[in-house]
Assembly symmetry: D2
Homo-oligomer: 340 residues x 4
């Protein structure tokens, strides 16, 4: 931690700053420049995080030196983590190819879609049973019934299943049926929920919030990790941008950045990032090329009948064509699509 003192700081204030730092069991290293005085704090930076250093009189700015996450950091864990989702490996050279409809729908449709994406090469099946919807009047998901359908269909086609959980009170129930728990973008900083999924020891798919910095995102992963659950897969799904030509702004560079800062696997979700099926294939390839550990795509066999997010779903045939191109690129990148 570095403190930059104000240009008009008094000697008394400087003395008070040093005293405060030392009262935390740390050392203060003073550096008087020609125009500003700077205080380097020596010792465990964590001790200072809880203290509002910037509120001490005479302090102009506080510059952290270390990242605030530990368990999620690459420094603490130099090797890439491999997360296992009911036998499917993700990270460390293994790709998660997650596909399925936005919402779980009727069993026959789910069966058709699962069969198609499995044949195309998907290794994890997705579908929402509890849907976080902007409108209280919109379809909110099939609930428990949906979980059962999802599990049954996933097992039939040999794919572990991932589904979103939104309520801390049903985390346990969802964990009974699902192989991986998704935390959606709107809940990325729902710390109560993060804590609950952290207790389950089920793999967690942690979507990035719409305006979360990379630092915020890794801190949310830290919540899950700090509960003892080390199976976290991050997912970039687009952030808020100023141009409504696409639904969100696909932040592909964040994937490369997270891979440097953290050991956790990171996948991309071009369906939500773009909101446009015509851009999904190109953005899926971009995601793999940048180094993502997988691609999450919404697939529906009749988008105009989808219960939610139909306009951004790929048809099974388009998904199949895309998978062929993704496999070629995966080969070039020396990545493997593991099957359960």
């Amino acid at each position: 931690m570095i403190l930059i003192l104000k240009s008009d700081v008094t000697e008394q204030q400087v003395a008070h700053v040093i005293e405060r730092v030392e009262s935390m069991g740390l050392r203060a290293h003073l550096s008087r420049g020609s125009q500003r005085t700077i205080v380097g704090i020596i010792g465990e930076e964590d001790k200072t995080r809880e203290t509002p250093l910037r509120a001490i009189p005479g302090v102009a700015d506080v510059i952290p030196v270390l990242p605030p996450y530990k368990l999620a950091s690459r420094e603490a864990h130099p090797q890439e983590s491999v997360v296992e989702v009911a036998g499917v490996k993700v990270g460390g050279g293994f790709l998660a190819m997650i596909a399925g409809p936005c919402s779980v729908e009727e069993p026959e449709r789910m069966d058709r879609i699962a069969k198609a994406v499995r044949a195309a090469g998907a290794n994890i099946f997705r579908g929402g049973a509890f849907k976080p919807r902007t409108s209280p009047y919109a379809f909110q998901g099939l609930g428990l019934e949906g979980l059962k359908i999802l599990q049954t269909v996933g097992r039939k086609y040999g794919m572990p299943v991932v589904t979103e959980v939104t309520d801390p009170r049903v985390v346990e129930t969802v964990a009974e049926y699902a192989d991986m728990l998704q935390i959606g973008a709107r809940n990325m900083q729902n710390f109560v929920l993060l804590t609950e999924v952290g207790k389950t020891h089920k793999p967690v798919l942690l979507k990035r919030g719409m305006s979360a910095t990379v630092n915020d995102w890794l801190m949310s992963a830290e919540y899950v990790l700090s509960e003892g659950n080390s199976s976290v897969v991050l997912c970039e799904r687009g952030v808020k941008g100023f141009d409504n030509a696409t639904r969100n702004l696909f932040d592909v560079a964040s994937v490369a950045l997270v891979k440097r800062l953290s050991h956790l696997p990171v996948i991309v979700d071009p369906s939500h990032a773009t909101g446009r099926p015509d851009l999904i294939p190109a953005c899926s390839l971009a995601g793999l090329a940048v180094g993502a550990d997988g691609v999450h795509i919404e697939v529906h066999d009749c988008p105009e009948e989808a219960k939610s997010d139909g306009p951004q779903a790929l048809l099974p045939t388009d998904y199949d064509a895309l998978m062929q191109r993704m496999r070629q690129l995966a080969n070039l990148m020396e990545k493997t699509i593991s099957q359960s």
Copy 2:
């Protein structure tokens, strides 16, 4: 709802679009331009919201005509709502002057701060007992103990109290102690939580999410209203911006806009919007001048010892000076600060 068809749409596709619209019990009004065909949908727009119209082959774009919220809309409820918080009126010419520390701290300090803000003219006292913190290692609040301290101190000084709730499982407990329930920015789209506070019939202070559009924000209010709880006060607290010179970007125009679109009271929170005590007085006055129904300010008697967000707190003396200026402006605007 208006559908803009693709330039290369076929007659068969046009016929299918019309059929789909009519199958919803609506009428389609075709308008063939020189370069594009447009379909106006006549009837209740709500019927179309659930259907992914943009996924119908031949449809290029879908333009909604009506806002998706109803209970929150000014059209449905032309007069400004007045929300009562244990006797303190908010909206319709009455200002909420909410003040207090970020977190509830020890009783003596709470007493000192409450006494000071009450003397300065605040009419609602605030303090967080359950804190949503970016870091799992940060102070998470005093919990139930904090609620009790807050209630005791508020009663002593004749101020109703507002505190944040983050967990649907403790909504009832929080509602026992607090006069108003705050939904924080990070939980603005925690629909599970919104539904729970909607069931309590306690007034709700709904902070705007960091990257929520005005439409998203009003839809979250709609969640609470649709559960039968009509006492919602909105709070603008800054949105994400590209310039880190301030913590957030204070969207003062959104207050004027919401007051046109909705009948709900809207207050401002310059503490979170700017993150800098030196900008809080100017931004508080701007908030009142733009038409806000109140100002929410963090006050602490020793910011460098605050358990959270110290650097953005005002000292009680500064709050007092600001309240004097706010009262003058309130007079000019013909607004009243109601007391319980």
Copy 3:
């Protein structure tokens, strides 16, 4: 300037860093923490700005301590500047009330609008003769003819005139007719143009770029000031946001911030900031309340016939009603509307 070194920096790299710093005639102050080594650079920070310190091997990050602008800074010039526009004072307690149509139009209309805004209390008249338009097919302004009309009408009603200049080749010509030169948002970082207007010694109205940080904005002012032209008035006109409910996001807090960082006057432009006439009155008042040194508003007597930006113009009667409210607020703030 502070250098944060990498966690795996070698002693050889540390020595090289120190050597580089000393080769610039500066001193390096080393501070070895438990996890990172930090180098404080002592001496004139400017000497380091030109050197890509972050590219030196072993350097992780570079933290500037001082702002990069000098002539524009409040530190260098503690008192508020008062800019004179042909006799009208702006800043230091004097308000610029700038009004007029987006584009200069035919003389009769200009006369009508000027007469009306003058009667309402405006003290500077505006109108664009050279229009920067997003589309090459849009009306580009009346050019020289427009300048003449603007000057004639302004003189008739005793108001100095301001108009935008977009081309370095016509700066001199525009300066012959106009009393103040406007640099538009799209040209805020057109450094060639800034240099030319800096040479004229005419007052400059420098609009903030749509995604300019406060630092970028003040650096653009520095371009004008460094050419010897000290008459710069800044203008906040909204920045890019993610919510298209308003045309731009009115950054009212930036006005308060700039007034702390700089001695230059700052005004607001709610017409461009919101793009909606129904929000202009509330945002104008917010601008004055936050401490702005004036308000720039587009006024047109028949918006539906305006050559440009009609939908965001106020009618003269609405401007008059707003001016009455602004005068009341100006009195409360102890500000004066100077007349030429």
Copy 4:
């Protein structure tokens, strides 16, 4: 163009709207819904662009149906354009591999860098002679001398050269020495400059502005095209984001989108988009995978001595390693790197 009328529109206002539309030689098609009346305008949409339709009393909103650009649109020109830069083909399957230092520096260094990037496979050499710098005190480029060095070195190694032009008064001079004229991000809406480069008939490299929508960007291309210069190559270089972990936010999806909307080639610039050399390789590959027609990378043989932007430059050896990976990916994508 579609007009959505206000809910309280009067019959008289409806009649006036229709009259206005018909006075432009267009037809108005009325569609009365249960809650709103909509007016479809039939005829050439361009006729309406100049008229402020939203300012007509009773009009709530105006929805354009067609894109405002024509020459740049894919509809008008379904086949991908191939731009020739002194013999090097860009677009339609041909990749521009542009490399070189940020600024033109001394001849020996330029020679070394050019030799290295040529050997690595670059086909266009870059270097800035006129630098747009945020600070008036920063290095502004070698000017004419720099142009000569750039041309000489480019010719020696058989690479056409591209350099930025910032001043309409020197466009002709720059065009004498350079094979391609770059319009920088800060000048993307400098319409005076766009018009001048449009007159030269030299290929133009048009960088996207930091907060330009895709629509704004294509409209700026339209300025160049409408002057008769059809050789425009677009370049995505990152947009403003809220997370300062990277310099800008690399909008990779915009490349895929522009390729659908326009026939013009689009390349990516990961140097400016990320500002971090460690992310450039991954983002370059992402750019190619998404379908970009080339990659623009800053290369310097001693970044710590670079006159500008050193910290984001790649070393020649790193560029060489990246080019090998880019060639593999180009093969997979069936793209060719043309040489002059």
